[in-house]
C-alpha cells in the first residue's frame, strides 16, 4: 500500500517539474550542446578552433586582458566591499536592512543603465572631470573613459553588490559572543578583529572573491561600452565573431572555454556559500 502511494507521489512531483525541465532542456541545454558541437565539428571533427585560441597572439592577448581586468575588479570589490559588509554586519539588523536598500537598488538596476551612469560621470566633459577642473586638481580633462581604468571602475561598480552580499551573508552567521569573549580576555579591538572575526569571515572573502572573478570573466556590456580598442575581453570577442566576423565555430570554441572556466569557479563557490543565499538575503 505504502509503496503505491509513494509511487503516485513521485509521479505527481515529476509531473510538476516536467514543464520547467522541458523548457530548460529545449532552450538551454540543447543550445549549449549545440555550441559545444559547433566548436568541434565543421565538416568533420576538429580541434582547430581551440588551437587558434591558444596559438594566435591576438587571442591570447584577449584572454590575458580578460584575466587582468577580472583580477583588478576583484581586488577593488574586495577592498570596498569588505569594510561595508563589516559595517552592515555589526549594526542592528533593522539599521542594516535599511542601509541594505542602498546596496540592493543598484544591484537590481539594469546593467546598461549603471554603465551609462558611469559614462556620463567619467567622460571627457563628464561630471568627474568638470569637478576636477573646477577644484584645480587638473588642468585638462583626465582620460577616464574608453580605456582600462574606465572598464575597471564600471565593472567594479556593477559587481560590488555581489561581493557585499556574499561577505555579509557569512558575517551575519558569526557569533558575536566570540568577539566579546576575545575582548573580555583582554584583546584590543583590532586584535579581536584580526584573530577572531577576520578568520571566521574568510569563507565570505573566498566566496565573494571567486564570485566576482567568475562574473567578471564573462562580462560584456560594461567593457564593450567603457573600454577602448585595446580592451577587448573574451565575451566581446565572442559577440564580434558571431555578429561581425560570422565565424560561429570559433565563437563557440571561445564560449566553451569561458563556460569551462565559469563552471570550475562555481563548483568552488558552491562549496563555500550557497548561491541562492545571496538572493534570499536581498529580495
Amino acid at each position: 500500500m505504502k509503496s503505491i502511494e509513494e509511487g503516485r507521489e513521485t509521479r505527481r512531483n515529476l509531473l510538476l517539474l516536467l514543464p520547467a525541465l522541458l523548457l530548460l532542456a529545449l532552450l538551454f541545454a540543447y543550445p549549449l550542446l549545440g555550441i559545444v558541437n559547433r566548436s568541434v565539428y565543421k565538416a568533420g571533427y576538429t580541434l582547430d578552433f581551440y588551437r587558434q585560441i591558444f596559438r594566435v597572439p591576438v587571442y591570447l592577448q584577449v584572454l590575458g586582458a580578460t584575466f587582468k581586468v577580472s583580477a583588478l575588479v576583484t581586488i577593488v570589490c574586495l577592498a570596498l566591499g569588505y569594510p561595508l559588509a563589516y559595517m552592515l554586519a555589526t549594526r542592528r539588523p533593522r539599521t542594516a536592512q535599511l542601509l541594505m536598500i542602498i546596496v540592493v537598488l543598484p544591484f537590481f538596476t539594469s546593467i546598461i543603465v549603471r554603465t551609462y551612469a558611469w559614462m556620463v560621470l567619467l567622460g571627457r566633459n563628464g561630471i568627474v572631470n568638470q569637478y576636477l577642473i573646477a577644484l584645480g586638481l587638473t588642468d585638462k580633462p583626465l582620460a577616464l573613459l574608453y580605456n582600462q581604468a574606465g572598464v575597471v571602475i564600471g565593472m567594479s561598480y556593477v559587481l560590488l553588490p555581489y561581493m557585499v552580499l556574499t561577505v555579509y551573508s557569512v558575517m551575519r552567521g558569526i557569533d558575536p559572543g566570540l568577539v566579546r569573549a576575545a575582548h573580555s580576555l583582554g584583546a584590543s579591538r583590532f586584535q579581536a578583529f584580526r584573530r577572531v572575526f577576520l578568520p571566521l569571515s574568510l569563507p565570505g572573502i573566498a566566496g565573494g572573491t571567486l564570485l566576482v572573478f567568475i562574473l567578471s570573466l564573462g562580462f560584456f556590456i560594461t567593457p564593450a561600452l567603457m573600454g577602448g580598442p585595446g580592451d577587448m575581453m573574451i565575451a566581446m570577442l565572442i559577440e564580434r565573431e558571431v555578429e561581425i566576423t560570422l565565424n560561429w565555430s570559433f565563437a563557440s570554441a571561445l564560449a566553451v572555454v569561458l563556460l569551462a572556466l565559469t563552471l570550475a569557479g562555481f563548483a568552488g563557490y558552491n562549496r563555500i556559500v550557497r548561491l541562492e543565499r545571496i538572493f534570499e538575503g536581498r529580495s
Binding site: 549549449l32 555550441i35 563556460l259
Partner: protein, 269 residues
C-alpha cells in the same frame, strides 16, 4: 554585535567612514542620473543649471523609443507569465516532494544563473536562426524565461518553506480535493510570495540586454537594445531620461515586493 557599535574606537571610526564612502559610491551614480535627467542644458552637468522636462519629451516624443517601451513590456509580461507558472510548479515539487535526485534537479533549475548570459544568448541565437524565428517577441520572451526561471524558483521555494503544510492537510482531511485545497488554501496564502516572484521575473526581462541584442530584429527592439544602439554612437542625454524610467521601474518592483513580504510574514507566521 549591536553593543559593539557603541564602543567605537579610532579604528572603528575609520571603518565606518570608509563604509559610508562606499555606500555613497553605490548610490551616487543612480541619484545623479535621475537628477541630470531633468536638466535643461545641452550637456549633462551636475548640478543642472536649470530644470526642464526636455529629455523626457525627447524620450516619449520619439516613435522608436515609444515602440521600444511597448516591446519591452510585452516581452517582460510574457516572461512573467511563463516563468512564474513553470517556477511555481517546480518549486511545489521541490519543497514538498521527497524523491531522489532532488538536489541535482534544484541545481539544474538554477544553472541558467551560473552560465554567462553571453553564452546563453548566442546558443539561443544559433537555435532560433535555424528556426528562422529571430526578431519575434515570443523568442525573446522564451529566452528571458530561461533566465527568470531560477529567480522564481528561489523566491517560491523560500515562500513555500514558510507555509504551514498542516493547513492544507486540514482541508484535505475535511474532504477537499487536492486541487481545491491548492486553489482555496495554499495559493491565497502564498500569494504574496507568488506576486513578488512574478515582479522579479518581469524585472529580470525588462532590464536584460543580451538576449534581445541577438534575437531582436530591426523593427522590434527592446528598450535596452535601443539604449545600446544609441550608446555605441554617442552619450546621448536622452538616455538619462530613459535610464531614470528604468530605475523607477526597479524601485517600484523592490518597493512592492518589500510590502508584499511584510504582508506575507504577517499571514504565514
Amino acid at each position: 554585535m549591536g553593543e559593539e557599535g557603541q564602543r567605537t574606537g579610532p579604528g572603528g571610526v575609520a571603518v565606518i567612514a570608509l563604509a559610508v564612502a562606499v555606500l555613497v559610491f553605490l548610490i551616487a551614480p543612480v541619484v545623479i542620473i535621475v537628477i541630470v535627467s531633468f536638466s535643461g542644458a545641452d550637456y549633462l552637468t551636475f548640478p543642472p543649471p536649470y530644470l526642464s522636462l526636455r529629455w523626457y519629451q525627447r524620450f516619449l516624443g520619439t516613435r522608436s523609443w515609444r515602440q521600444a517601451i511597448g516591446v519591452s513590456t510585452q516581452v517582460a509580461l510574457l516572461t512573467m507569465v511563463f516563468a512564474t507558472t513553470l517556477g511555481l510548479l517546480a518549486a511545489l515539487a521541490l519543497v514538498r516532494g521527497r524523491f531522489r535526485g532532488k538536489g541535482v534537479i534544484y541545481a539544474v533549475l538554477l544553472s541558467p544563473m551560473i552560465v554567462p548570459t553571453i553564452i546563453t544568448a548566442i546558443g539561443l541565437y544559433f537555435f532560433f536562426v535555424r528556426l528562422k524565428a529571430t526578431g519575434s517577441i515570443l523568442a525573446m520572451a522564451l529566452g528571458h524565461t530561461v533566465l527568470a526561471l531560477p529567480v522564481v524558483v528561489i523566491i517560491m521555494a523560500a515562500a513555500l518553506q514558510g507555509f504551514d503544510m498542516r493547513l492544507e492537510q486540514a482541508a484535505l482531511s475535511l474532504g477537499a480535493s487536492r486541487l481545491t485545497a491548492l486553489r482555496r488554501i495554499t495559493l491565497p496564502l502564498i500569494l504574496p510570495g507568488l506576486l513578488s516572484a512574478a515582479l522579479f521575473a518581469f524585472l529580470t526581462s525588462f532590464d536584460e540586454l543580451l538576449i534581445p541584442l541577438f534575437l531582436s530584429g530591426v523593427e522590434i527592439q527592446t528598450l535596452t537594445v535601443r539604449i545600446w544602439n544609441s550608446l555605441i554612437l554617442e552619450v546621448d542625454p536622452t538616455i538619462a531620461a530613459v535610464s531614470s524610467f528604468l530605475i523607477g521601474v526597479t524601485a517600484v518592483v523592490l518597493g512592492a515586493s518589500a510590502l508584499l513580504r511584510g504582508r506575507g510574514d504577517a499571514t504565514t507566521t
